[in-house]
């Protein structure tokens, strides 16, 4: 069967047969049942549902935008827009020779600061461990934070990044998308910033519409003229 898309709600039988259940679907006998509101997609041998609602569940290697809530003498806690708090150990920032006596955590990151981080480890038993020691990660000094629904992040990125590229090209903004639905937009010109923010919000509102990339492009171009 080809890539057949269908709108589903929890409990809907998407199809029957030997498929591999992926995200948001369960196998009951030979029936494949959706567990979320979303759009079902059938690939060669697997089925998944792209959810349209729901909270962010951390996944290892996800890039997220976090906000520092508090710190102890050994670690920071980050709000990552999830049901779990991100745990950022001090060694990650100060290096191996971190000493709880000598180094003051608030000298590097204060509560309220935004950071781009990567989920280093996460399992059912512990809160997600995040890291900022990598290229493009770390404290975010400038930009505007836009919050969208985490379930719509794949839509904002688009197929092979087409959507986000379209927005960046048209506005000249630099956009960092966290998988947790927090997006940081920075731009040299205030018009570009406003346009990029509007475009992101438009994707959030109209995520289920087909041909959204074209609509967004149209919106960006029309605003440019007026």
């Amino acid at each position: 069967m080809e890539n057949k898309r269908k709108y589903v709600i929890p409990g809907d039988v998407i199809t029957t047969g030997p498929y591999r259940p992926e995200q948001n679907v369960i196998l009951d006998g030979n029936k494949i049942i959706s567990t979320a509101i979303g759009i079902s997609e059938i690939y060669d041998d697997s089925i998944k549902v792209i959810p349209l609602t729901g909270k962010y569940i951390p996944k290892i290697d996800d890039l997220v935008i976090g906000k520092v809530i508090s710190h102890t003498s050994l670690s920071w806690e980050l709000d990552i827009n999830s049901c779990y708090v991100g745990f950022l150990p001090a060694q990650d920032v100060f290096g191996r020779d971190f000493s709880a006596h000598a180094d003051e955590l608030s000298s590097k990151l204060k509560s309220g600061d935004l950071v781009a981080a990567r989920i280093a480890n996460f399992d059912r038993t512990r809160d997600p461990l995040v890291t900022i020691s990598d290229r493009d990660l770390g404290k975010i000094d400038s930009g505007h934070l836009v919050k969208i629904s985490p379930s719509k992040v794949p839509r904002l990125i688009g197929k092979r990044g087409t959507m986000i590229q379209a927005i960046e090209m048209a506005t000249g903004a630099a956009i960092t998308i966290g998988q947790n639905g927090w997006v940081v937009v920075s731009c040299e010109t205030p018009e570009g910033l406003l346009k990029a923010k509007n475009a992101i919000q438009m994707v959030d509102e109209k995520a289920h519409v087909a041909n959204l990339t074209d609509q967004v492009k149209e919106m960006l171009e029309s605003k440019g003229e007026s």
Partner: protein, 244 residues
Amino acid sequence: MGGRDTTLVLLDENGIRCDGRKVDEPRRIMIKAGGLKNADGSAYIEFGDNKILVGVFGPRDVHPKHMSNTDTGILRVRYHMVPFSVTERKNPAPSRREIEISKVIKEALEPAVMLDKFPRTAVDVFIEVLQADGGTRCAALSAASVALADAGIPMRDMVAACAAGKAADTIILDVNNEEDQAGQADMPIGYMPSLEKITLLQLDGVLTPAEYKKCVETGIHGCKIVYELQRKALTEKYFGNGEK
């Protein structure tokens, strides 16, 4: 139980009930998904003269911490009737009945909600009955299920609920307040339509085995009607009528 009220005709010779319905006809039902901005998911239901608002939060941190479970998430349900929901002012403190219904609804939702995906968290369901007219637990359960789906909590199936019962020696669908007071039996049923499983079944009254069977079938028929409306509510909110 047993026709105490002699002036009220529960079923006339034409098979029409006291509120003008046929025996297998539910009341007017309207469900709306969403509506509350601050809740993660919400739903509003009008089930005849019942008006119920449901808000869902979660999955989120459990407070108090000792309630959390390291193996699975927990579901917490509060069913509450506002003081003006009934003719005489109801004390807003949780009554014995409300505590029971909270528990019953929680247990009716648990088979559907896949909480094992979120260990150490809680999903909170708040049900406010704004106006009550018999069969609130069924209406509340149906609305709670829509609100949970709206919040994006993974579910094996929706839970639809409807009551069946017996009045004037006839099995009827969707018992209203008068039929509940003066009728012979009331059986609320919660049902997962795709999995074809019952999650809630209570019975107040006396039925013969044959009547019992018919009553369950009638109730399930009602649940399927409710399910279609739940689907419609969610489809309208998320896909804007355009069925693909």
